[in-house]
Subunit: 216 residues, 2 copies
DNA sequence: GTGCACAATGTACACCGTACAAAGAAGGAG
DNA sequence: CTCCTTCTTTGTACGGTGTACATTGTGCAC
């Protein structure tokens, strides 16, 4: 170690990103914004991270851990462990819609991603799935959680909305669907809540049902 | 109609976007790029479209139609109609990774989105699902297709890669997984192909299985 | 033929990620 | 202790993005 002391480290940068997201959950954090919050010039961040995509990668890793992947291998029944982690991760993302695009800007290859994968494999194996099916099921769960969160994040209103505002948007959507084609109209009330946690959990449960339904 | 003739219309703009995507499938089309291709100043587009998000919306509509939603209500068995449309849409997206983020920049509310929804409802109803479950299943299918496409689009190599290059990336990934934790290592060959069409179709099939498995 | 409504432009702004050279701090070698 | 090397941080800059605003000029209605 020759040069001057570093004034930052990657975890401080991640913290700054999370603070930015706490203040404006729907805004995608930017390199310049993070640097400003750390009291530093934008290009200083390049000492710690090769580019923007890499920054997003470490934030993704942090969020994967925030959802508690350790509980995937713990004591609860395997099925609850899977849905539990899925819904916790989904909740973390919905609370910070601005971060969702980060999950789609590069492959997830960090240690926490590996831990999540192994945890899901553990649970599904415990559920009786053959190894290859467990791998496919694990990946499909991730697809569902991220897809569901991304679509929900794209929909108004954002996480700062009041209860009344949420209800208003929901009712407007239901009315629009009710004016649509017959089957759409008949299910307008259910479909209007497409991005609710209940629907997301329903989807994961049907997926799991389909996986264990094909057991010997 | 008072003023001068319009030199464009929305469909010409969409065509320009599609041409841009044909030339560079992995690059997200930009307002300025579209304008340049049409031989027009960037702000001219604001005559036809209120902002960038709206432009992305009409492109999304075009792609939903490109995948052939009409076939959702046609003669094939209901289950094949669902997986067929899902895989066609997925293929259209994977051929143009640059367009994938468009699906997550706002709610899908156009006529083709409605047609896709109604078509999926028709199929699932035909499959025996109760209306509300059909609505949930339809939405979950969309979540899966878009999530799967988005994750696949985020992974190298892009759609222009040679067969050999694809295999090299796949093998590198398999090797990395094989060095991971036990269950991950045991399923490395399967997991390395996480973004393959086969895995995506497997996921949809398990989802459908789970939906019809709970029938009376 | 004249006036008015509208499309397209010119120009501008704020923001983004990032490259590159210069400045400055701190440890190792003499 | 001094110098030199190394590494962090900065200053400055470039090309890109979406979009606002005033201006120009076209073509129909009167």
């Amino acid at each position: 170690m020759k040069g001057p002391k570093r004034s930052l480290d990657v975890s401080k940068i991640v913290d700054a990103v999370m603070e930015l997201l706490d203040e404006e959950p729907s805004a995608a954090p930017t390199l310049r914004g993070v640097a400003a919050r750390l009291g530093v010039r934008p290009n200083t961040l390049y000492t710690y991270v090769p580019d923007r995509v890499a920054l997003e990668g470490v934030v993704v890793e942090h969020l994967l851990e925030l959802a508690g992947p350790a509980a995937l291998t713990g004591g609860a029944p395997w099925r609850e462990r899977v849905t539990g982690y899925a819904m916790r991760l989904r909740a973390e993302l919905l609370a910070r819609p601005g971060v969702v695009p980060f999950f789609f800007s590069g492959p997830m290859s960090g240690p926490n991603a590996a831990a999540v994968g192994e945890g899901l494999l553990t649970a599904f194996t415990e559920g009786g799935l053959r190894p290859d099916d467990a791998a496919r099921a694990a990946y499909t769960v991730i697809v569902h959680v991220l897809g569901s969160a991304a679509l929900a994040a794209a929909d108004p209103p954002g996480p700062g909305a009041s209860e009344a505002e949420v209800l208003a948007v929901l009712e407007a959507r239901r009315a629009a669907l009710a004016a649509g084609p017959p089957l759409t109209a008949a299910t307008a009330a259910t479909a209007a809540a497409w991005n609710s946690s209940e629907q997301a959990e329903w989807g994961i449960n049907r997926l799991i049902d389909g996986c264990i339904g094909s057991l010997p």
